[in-house]
Amino acid sequence: MKHVKQNQNFIPLYVALVVALLWVVASAHIFFSHYEMLYQRGYLPGPGNWRPAHTTDPLTNTDVEQLKPWATFAFVNKVYALPPRYLENALLISDISYPDITIEELAKMQAIPAPVLLHTVQELIRARILPPGTS
């Protein structure tokens, strides 16, 4: 009788364990589905491919769309391998904090909408760097 009572005390814990294990299975399925999708697109490592899809070479024309307003000009110059004075001269930037100033901050200073300045910067980068595969 005592043994039966002791076993009954474990029932809520066993139920909780089953629920938690179902949660693990569901989470693992959701996670690994996303992982597989990223693996097939070449972003994440897996069997036969343990190297990242990207290199640390400068970004190209096709990557310009990924530029965000929080990016600083120092970052833009570095990752797109631009001459340090190129954007400064093209955008007539006189602020002494250049290149450690973000696109959004500059837009505020110049009283223009951030998306407009971002688009201008993207066009300037496209004009400076050649598309991949061209020489």
Binding site: F10, S27, I30, F31, H34, L44, P52, K68, W70, K78
Partner: protein, 202 residues
């Protein structure tokens, strides 16, 4: 207006490793900052050649371990007085606090390890571990292991995703969900094992 993450990303781009250290350290010590997002972004920036990936991982690891242990030792030093000043004296005397104390002291390793992956729970766990006198050795070794897994998981995810990291924040949320579900399951198994062990000996 810049979002908090956007603002912190600009801060990261300007002050680099110092910013990464400060954000990671403060996030695990007390401030609710999106340190995981910043670590993923740092990994992505390393993939673009702006940072060195080993330096990113090392900086974040040192900051996270430093912040966690500082929180723990401050709480250890203040003991239950830690809760008196902010007006939580009643909480310390409550039954809930006693239950929480027994729970943390029963399963310190699982709780400390898995709390690394849940924002805001990590700093609270550090403080509670200190207040409740979780043995130093247990705390430090678990934090070292937990933060190592955390930093590698987030930093390398950003590094492999590269410029795609912002489009895949949901992937990181899914990884966190998997870690939390694993933590809960392991904790329940420990609980059952402990109860069986106690009932067998009694």
């Amino acid at each position: 207006m810049l979002s908090l993450l956007g603002y912190l990303l600009s801060f990261l781009l300007v002050y680099k490793y110092v910013a990464l250290f400060a954000i990671s350290f403060l996030a695990v010590l007390i401030l609710p900052l999106p340190a995981s997002g910043i670590l993923v972004a740092s990994g992505a920036l390393a993939s673009q050649g702006y940072f060195q990936i080993t330096a990113v991982l090392l900086t974040a690891f040192v900051a996270k371990v430093g912040g966690s242990t500082l929180g723990y030792f401050i709480a250890c030093y203040l003991g239950e007085n830690f809760f008196h000043k902010p007006g939580l004296r009643h909480f310390v005397r409550s039954r809930l606090f006693r239950k929480l104390k027994m729970y943390i002291l029963s399963f310190p390793r699982t709780i400390i390890f898995f709390s690394r992956f849940i924002a805001e729970v990590g700093p609270v766990t550090n403080v509670l571990s200190g207040v409740m006198n979780v043995p130093r050795r247990v705390f430090v070794t678990t934090v070292l292991f937990g933060e190592l897994v955390y930093v590698l998981m987030y930093g390398l995810t950003g590094y492999f995703l590269g410029a795609e990291w912002e489009n895949n924040l949901l992937f990181i949320a899914k990884a966190v969900m998997l870690m939390v579900s694993l933590g809960v399951s392991i904790n329940i198994i420990e609980w059952i094992w402990r109860r069986k062990h106690l009932s067998y000996h009694s």
